[in-house]
Amino acid sequence: MSTPEQPAAPAAPKPTRIPPIVTLDAKFFWEGADKELFLGQKCGDCGEFRFPPRPMCPKCFSLKREEVPLSGKGKVHSWAIARHPPPFGFKEAPIIAVIELEEGTRFVSNVVGVAYDEVVQDMPVEVTFEPTMNNHKVPVFRPVKK
């Protein structure tokens, strides 16, 4: 039973980031992200990586899919700061970026843990996760520690 006399521990602020929009073909990806796994999709027959996820391999037309952990390492391929309108769910203007992953595919995400003026082209980054509304998580990227 709770004792009203004791002050409750300060609750962590509720995440305000919008949750992922989950489609059947990308369900594995977001379920992985909830468990802090950064997964990629490759062909179960010819091994070709592909993004965005899709049901058929564009090279050999196989429907076999493999969900494999990605290294989570990549480079900032393209980036900008979203000023106006302030994107819904962010307290500070996010750095939005296209990350070129080691595996050769690209992924839109955020660069976090870095000041606006410290982002440089092709900066090495690695995956980390941030919470969203409705108890989900999404992969974001931070600079690789030297």
């Binding site: 992922p20 489609t23 965005p52 393209s78 700061i81 979203a82 962010f90 996010p94 995400s109 974001v140």
Partner: protein
């Protein structure tokens, strides 16, 4: 019925006023602009037998046909890809006439994209991000705060701008030029409102450090329609025929509209290159043969990417091409002479198609001298309009 190849031409254009609050339904805007295009051509709306719009237009073919009293609709189709559809509708209409399937094809795009909803604001309903509109990857952007066309467009342009040292000030010259055209166009929202480069530089950041407010197209209410028929028939109608000399579309592998980050080289626009290759080949002409161009200008960097993609200048030279005054009325390639989507209105690119028609007819408020051929481009599709 015997079928044979039939040359296509634009016989009519019609629009509503361009505003920020039309005060009437999108269907009404569609009906009004469609009627205006038929009147312009001198045909009865009853005789429309083909209809084309964008996949994301909210009006229904049957309801619009009912408004217009269309007797027998032989063909309906829609083009995906948001604004990329603009020149795609011309392409489709040309093909329908070429194949002898339709005699009077109505193209329309009508929307209350300021008073009823706004493309430039955060989404209110993320279930809109479904495939089928050529925008299937937007759902991979939204959770990261990339929620508006400007954010998607900026990510697409940044690497190009970085590689060639294109600054926001360079982009400003496009904006200033187009607002100069809009300033003399009574139909333009920004009629009599030219801007200076300093105005551009003082406008607020939308996507820092790439796009300012004045690099972005407007949000507008309005409708634009175009009536396509055979060249032979167009010669007997009210207006001087505008030949659709050629038109095509190109969606290379891994290219998509606006969230276009998955093809090999983000410093080029492969879809524009693809359109250019096929289009120049089809019409037997090249960039030097165009006296004007209407180029989809949702955001200023994409004008540069298209200029380069179509071969008006070499990769990376777009900013210098603009700086040389090429886009001005007395330049090498007067471009978006109605003021574009930045200056006139954002009717999803269709109003730019109509300006291409006016340049060929010789009726633009900013008329270029001695026009024979005009390129109209919406990135993923393009057409060459020509005098008869």
């Amino acid at each position: 019925m015997a079928r044979q190849f039939t040359e296509a031409a634009i016989a009519g254009i019609g629009a509503t006023e361009f505003s920020k609050e039309s005060g009437r339904s999108e269907l009404q805007l569609a009906a009004e602009c469609a009627k205006a295009a038929c009147d312009d051509a001198g045909i009865s709306p009853h005789d429309i037998d083909g209809m084309i719009t964008f996949t994301i237009d909210n009006s229904d073919e049957m309801m619009l046909a009912r408004c217009l009293g269309v007797k027998d609709l032989a063909y309906t189709t829609r083009i995906p890809g948001g604004g990329a559809a603009a020149a795609g509708t011309i392409y489709q209409a040309m093909a329908m006439v070429n194949a002898g399937l339709c005699k009077n094809v109505l193209i329309w795009r009508a929307m209350n994209e300021r008073s009823q909803y706004r493309f430039g604001q955060n989404p209110t309903n993320t279930t809109n991000y479904q495939s089928g509109n050529g925008t299937g990857s937007l759902l991979w952007c939204v959770p990261f705060g990339a929620m508006t066309p400007a954010s998607w467009g900026a990510l697409q342009a940044q690497r190009y701008m970085h590689k060639y040292g294109v600054t926001n000030r360079d982009l400003g010259l496009i904006s200033v030029q187009q607002r100069q055209y809009a300033a003399t166009n009574p139909k333009a929202w920004f009629y009599n409102k030219p801007i200076t480069l300093e105005d551009h530089q003082n406008s607020k950041w939308i996507m820092e450090p790439l796009l300012r407010m004045l690099d972005c197209c407007q949000e507008s209410d309005g409708g634009q329609a175009i009536l396509v028929t055979s060249l032979e028939r167009a010669r007997d109608l009210k207006q001087k025929p505008v030949r659709i000399l050629g038109a095509t579309q190109s969606i290379p592998y891994n290219v998509e509209v606006i969230s276009n980050y998955y093809h090999e080289d983000l410093t080029v626009m492969p879809e524009a290159q693809g359109v250019a290759g096929r289009l120049w080949d089809m019409v037997g002409l090249g960039p030097k043969d165009m006296q004007a161009a209407m180029i989809y200008d949702a955001f200023t960097p994409h004008v540069l990417l298209q200029l380069e993609g179509f071969g008006f200048c070499k990769p990376g030279e777009g900013k210098d091409f603009v700086k040389s005054g090429a886009l001005a009325i007395d330049g090498i390639l007067p471009t978006n002479t109605h003021g574009g989507l930045l200056g006139e209105a954002y009717i999803h690119g269709m109003n730019s198609m109509a300006e291409g028609v006016r340049q060929i007819r010789g009726t633009s408020v900013n008329q270029v001298k001695s026009v024979t051929n005009v390129l109209v481009s919406s990135g993923m599709a393009g057409a060459v309009l020509s005098v008869d």
